[in-house]
C-alpha cells in the first residue's frame, strides 16, 4: 500500500512502513490512524472493477454580502475501471452528462441537446486530468476516481483527526477530519470489510463564510454495467458543438 499521495511532510518512514505507533515529529496534528483509514478505503476502492455511486449533495455559494445559499444536487456515477464512466450531475436545474468509453470524452446538456466530444486518453485518471487541465472541467467528487487509483497523487494534509463512531443513513461509520491547503474536510467511512466513503464534507477556508460542499453517498459495488453503457449515442436532434480548449 503506497502512501505517497497522502504523505505528510515529516510523517516519515515509520508510517510508510506501517508502524505508526509513534507520532512523527513536525506533524503533531496528524493522527496516523486517520491517514491509515483513508489508505484502507483507497485500497478497497482500488479492488473494485466497477461501481455505481449516487451522491446527494448540497453546494453552498456565498453572495457578495456574505449571505449563503445552498444548491441541491444529485450526481450519479457509473464507473468501469480503468477506462469507462458515465456521470450525470444535476444541480438545481442544470444537468450535465459526461461519458468516457476509453476513447472519447463527451459532455452533453440534455436540455439544450448540445454535445461536445473530444478524443480521450486511455484511463479515467488521465482523462480527468485532461478534462481539467485542457478543458477546465472539474467533476464533482472527482476524488472517488483519484482515491481508487493506486499511486494517484493527493494533496498532502496538515491535520488528520479521528473523531470515531458515527451513523450515516443507518450505516455504522467512522468519522475523520482533515485539513489541507485551504480546505477542511470530513469523511465518514463505513466500518467493516467494505470501507467505502458514506459522506463527505469539504469546506473552503478562503472565504469568511466558509462555504461547504456536502455529499451523502449510496453505493453499489457490484453493478451490472454493459460495455455499451459508456459510449455516448446522440439522439437524432442532438447537435455537436465545440469544446473550448485552453491549449489552443
Amino acid at each position: 500500500m503506497k502512501l505517497s499521495r497522502f504523505a505528510v511532510a515529516g510523517l516519515g518512514l515509520a508510517l510508510l512502513a506501517g508502524s505508526a505507533a509513534t507520532q512523527p515529529k513536525g506533524a503533531p496534528d496528524v493522527d496516523p490512524e486517520a491517514i491509515q483509514a483513508v489508505q484502507r478505503m483507497r485500497a478497497y476502492l482500488g479492488t473494485l472493477t466497477a461501481f455505481e455511486v449516487k451522491a446527494d449533495s448540497t453546494i453552498e455559494v456565498v453572495l457578495e454580502d456574505g449571505q449563503k445559499v445552498q444548491l441541491e444536487g444529485v450526481t450519479t456515477y457509473k464507473v468501469r475501471r480503468p477506462n469507462g464512466f458515465v456521470i450525470e450531475a444535476a444541480i438545481n436545474n442544470k444537468v450535465r452528462q459526461f461519458f468516457y468509453d476509453g476513447r472519447q470524452f463527451t459532455i452533453f446538456a440534455p436540455k439544450y441537446g448540445y454535445y461536445a466530444q473530444v478524443p480521450a486518453p486511455q484511463t479515467i485518471a488521465k482523462t480527468l486530468d485532461e478534462a481539467y487541465d485542457r478543458y477546465g472541467i472539474s467533476l464533482p467528487l472527482e476524488d472517488l476516481f483519484h482515491w481508487s487509483e493506486p499511486g494517484e497523487k493527493l494533496v498532502p494534509v496538515t491535520s488528520a483527526i479521528v473523531l470515531g463512531d458515527a451513523v450515516v443513513g443507518g450505516v455504522d461509520t467512522d468519522q475523520y477530519l482533515f485539513r489541507q491547503d485551504d480546505r477542511d474536510w470530513q469523511i465518514w467511512i463505513q466500518k467493516g470489510d467494505q470501507p467505502i466513503p458514506r459522506k463527505l464534507v469539504i469546506v473552503d477556508r478562503t472565504d469568511d463564510a466558509r462555504p461547504a460542499y456536502t455529499a451523502r453517498l449510496t453505493w453499489n459495488v457490484r453493478p451490472n454495467l454493459t460495455a455499451g453503457a459508456f459510449t455516448f449515442r446522440p439522439s437524432g436532434d442532438a447537435k455537436a458543438i465545440r469544446l473550448s480548449d485552453a491549449s489552443r
Binding site: 449533495s57 453546494i59 453552498e60 455559494v61 456565498v62 453572495l63 457578495e64 454580502d65 449571505q67 445559499v69 444548491l71 444541480i91 438545481n92 436545474n93 442544470k94 444537468v95 459532455i107 446538456a109 436540455k111 439544450y112 448540445y114 461536445a116 481539467y132 487541465d133 485542457r134 478543458y135 477546465g136 472541467i137 472539474s138 467533476l139 464533482p140 467528487l141 472527482e142 476524488d143 483519484h146 482515491w147 494517484e152 493527493l154 494533496v155 482533515f178 491547503d181 485551504d182 480546505r183 474536510w185 469539504i202 469546506v203 473552503d204 478562503t206 472565504d207 463564510a209 462555504p211 461547504a212 460542499y213 455529499a215 447537435k239 458543438i241 465545440r242 469544446l243 473550448s244 485552453a246
Partner: protein
C-alpha cells in the same frame, strides 16, 4: 428583505440607466453576484492554473474593446450597452451563477439585447451566456449557428457551460 427581493432591487437599481427588455424583471432569478462557492473535491490543488474563470476572463480581455469598466458587481452597468459601435458583448467574469444554473442570470441577456439593438457589430470572439430574444437557429454546413441583429453566434462549451460566441459569418 429576502434574497430574491435584494437581487431584484439591485438589478432594478442597476437597470435604471439602460433600457431593459421586459423579460428581465421577471427573470431576476440568479442575478445576485456570487463571491465564493464550495470546492467539490479534495484531490485537486486549491490553486488552479487553468481555472476556467481565468481563461474566460483572458478571452474577454483579449476581445475587449475598452468599453467595460465594471467591478462593482453591477453587471448591468458593464459598459457594454449604449456605447455605440464599440460594443463588447460581455461575459461576466465574476464568480458565477451560471456555473450552477442553466437559466443564467438575466443580466447577460439584457446586455446582449441592448448590444444587439444598439449597435451594428459585435466583437468576434466575445461571448454571451444566453441568446438575445428572437435569435433564430441558422445551421450552416452542418454546424449550429444563430443569427440575429446582424450577428452570428456559434454555441460552444466553455468548460461545462454552454456559451454563444460571436463569429464571422459562415460561408
Amino acid at each position: 428583505m429576502t434574497l430574491r427581493h435584494a437581487r431584484l432591487a439591485a438589478l432594478l437599481a442597476a437597470a435604471a440607466t439602460v433600457a431593459l427588455p421586459p423579460t428581465l424583471a421577471e427573470a431576476a432569478r440568479g442575478a445576485g453576484r456570487v463571491r465564493a462557492s464550495a470546492p467539490t473535491n479534495v484531490s485537486r490543488p486549491a490553486a488552479r492554473p487553468n481555472n476556467i474563470s481565468g481563461r474566460t476572463q483572458n478571452t474577454a480581455v483579449a476581445n475587449r474593446s475598452g468599453a467595460r469598466a465594471n467591478n462593482s458587481g453591477n453587471r448591468i452597468n458593464n459598459g457594454d450597452v449604449n456605447i455605440g459601435n464599440r460594443t463588447n458583448i460581455n461575459i461576466d467574469n465574476d464568480h458565477r451563477w451560471h456555473d450552477w444554473d442553466d437559466d443564467y442570470h438575466p443580466v447577460a441577456r439584457g446586455v446582449a439585447f441592448g448590444a444587439a439593438a444598439a449597435v451594428t457589430s459585435a466583437v468576434v470572439g466575445s461571448m454571451i451566456y444566453s441568446l438575445p430574444p428572437a435569435c433564430a437557429p441558422r445551421p450552416y454546413g452542418g454546424t449550429s449557428y444563430y443569427y440575429c441583429g446582424n450577428v452570428w453566434y456559434a454555441p460552444q462549451y466553455q468548460a461545462d457551460q454552454v456559451v454563444y460566441v460571436v463569429v464571422n459569418p459562415p460561408g
